[in-house]
């Protein structure tokens, strides 16, 4: 049994990448593998202010969000296209008053629902209503293993206690629980305790996700970048725990690509097996894609279907496959392994999304950027720029002696 369908199985032969035209007699899924799962960022509103938030720096205001009826139409359209799962995410998805209604609609049209939440707005009644509406899985983000670090990173008092409470309710309601722990220099010393916390919460899965540096995280890179020693220690801890906890807790591990020699296969390749929909209804090849200026993204509010946008829109086709690649990607033997890495990172660090991702050792910018990251990781700049609609707010004081206390 293969672990996932997300590989090549559901896409047509790679040779037609980006050139596939929707034939009238066929569904989009047959001509260009429609993704199995779609990320729905139903709002950018969030009570947390994490300095590494994956939302774009320019957030969608509440007034621009799709309405309940518009989201329901999106859900129905996705199910018809052959999408099997949706991830209700944000922002904080439960900040929308219609979250239960949206989950119920997803269930009604046959979609499997995951909730990706900060948990702090959930009551037991609301969580129970979500379970009754067919919610199949809850993923809760944690910023540390105790309130001092966790609440500071989240920029919200009492957040950690609330998260623990909601995690317990999730298991009481017999829903599978994933603990998502975003790791960086100022909380990596808690990793072993976070793993134990996930076990104690009876979680099914733990995601140990090192921060990826674009958008808000790039603005905070100097305060977040781990040292190479921390990363080596992290890998050792994760590998030991994966063996020890087999059958109890599955641990997924995302390494920071700044310390890699090869770039990540970002999104499985641009426009190959992933898209997400922004609060305002933009269909995006990646949740950070709006950071790339000069690309026009189409909306579900346009007169185009989601299938058409996926197949034919300029933004999806621009970096699909390998035809767009410059050297060193163009002649690289790994070009279909990583598809040149991350477009958003290439844009953020080189000013051109069409360049090789500098995370790759073959990028002419790799050495310079790695050195810069290494210097930042050794620095003492620990103050956060908190994420908010005002373009960010700098932390009032840097609690240097309290952090890095490991």
């Amino acid at each position: 049994m293969s672990d996932t369908l997300a590989g090549n199985k559901t896409t047509t032969a790679g040779t037609t990448d980006g050139l596939a035209v929707l034939e009238q007699t066929r569904s989009a899924a047959e001509t260009y593998g429609i993704p199995l799962a779609v990320l729905l960022e139903i709002t950018h509103r969030c009570p947390l202010q994490c300095p590494y938030c994956s939302n774009p720096v320019e957030l969608d205001r509440g007034s621009t969000e799709l309405t309940t009826e518009e989201w329901k139409k999106v859900l129905s359209e996705l199910a018809e296209l052959g999408v099997l799962q949706v991830h209700f995410s944000g922002g904080e998805p439960t900040a929308r008053k219609d979250i239960v209604e949206l989950v119920q609609h997803a269930t009604d049209v046959g979609l499997y629902s995951n909730l990706i939440t900060s948990a702090v707005l959930l009551t037991k009644d609301k969580l129970s209503a979500l379970a009754d509406a067919g919610l199949s899985h809850v993923q809760i983000s944690f910023q540390g293993n105790e309130p001092m670090v966790a609440d500071r990173v989240a920029g919200l008092k009492d957040a950690h206690r609330k998260k623990l409470e909601v995690a317990r309710w999730t298991r009481e309601l017999d829903m599978p629980l994933t603990v998502n722990a975003v790791m960086h220099r100022q909380n990596l010393h808690q990793l072993s305790d976070i793993i134990q916390m996930a076990v104690d919460l009876d979680a099914d899965r733990l995601e140990v996700a090192n921060v990826q540096y674009y958008g808000w995280a790039l603005k905070n890179r100097a305060a977040l970048m781990p040292t190479i020693e921390q990363i080596e220690e992290t890998s050792r801890i994760v590998e030991e725990a994966q063996v020890r906890l087999k059958g109890t807790l599955a641990i997924d591990y995302v390494v920071p690509d700044y310390y890699a020699l090869r770039p990540k296969k970002c999104m499985g390749g641009w426009g190959r097996q992933f898209f997400n929909i922004s609060p305002a209804g933009k269909v995006l090849p990646c949740h950070a894609a709006e950071s790339i200026t000069g690309l026009e993204f189409e909306s579900v509010r346009s007169n185009h279907s989601i299938a058409w946008i996926w197949q034919n829109s300029e933004a999806f086709n621009r970096y699909r496959g390998t035809g767009w690649m410059p050297e060193p990607c163009k002649s690289c033997e790994f070009r279909e392994d990583d598809f040149g890495g991350c477009r958003c990172q290439a844009f953020a660090l080189t000013g051109d999304a069409g360049n090789t991702d500098p995370a790759c050792a073959l990028s002419p910018r790799h050495e310079e950027i790695f050195k810069q990251a290494e210097q930042e990781s050794a620095g003492t700049q620990n103050r956060f720029l908190y994420r908010n609609f005002a373009g960010g707010t700098l932390e009032t004081e840097a609690p240097q002696e309290k952090i890095n206390g490991a």
Binding site: M1, S27, I34, Q85, S136, P176
Partner: protein, 102 residues
């Protein structure tokens, strides 16, 4: 709560938990298992075994049924079925029916 660390044996009576869904994907014309943030592609035999996992049948009964249907050695089938179910259980996609206390 669903029990963890299940050890699958011939006396187990496994079933898919509520959050694990076996379904035929009309678009791709394949059977899929939907689980948290995962889509698995079971092969034909796995689909047949999973359809028997109703929390009532024991693994022994499933093996008997399959051995008869395929006129195959019971031992070989038992080994394969238990290994497959154990793999799914380890991933959290299979649970065991609780003993009835009634």
């Amino acid at each position: 709560m669903a029990s963890r660390n299940i050890s699958v044996s011939e006396t187990s009576r496994p079933k898919l938990p509520r959050h694990t869904k076996l379904k035929f994907d009309e678009t791709r014309q394949v059977w899929v298992i939907l689980a948290p943030e995962r889509v698995l592609a079971p092969d034909e035999i796995a689909v047949e075994v999973l359809q028997l996992c109703d929390g009532v049948r024991s693994v022994a009964e499933m093996v008997d049924q399959l051995a008869e249907k395929y006129a195959a050695p019971r031992d070989a089938i038992a080994t394969d079925v238990i290994a497959m179910l154990q793999d799914l259980a380890d991933k959290g996609f299979l649970t065991e029916a609780r003993e009835s206390t009634a």
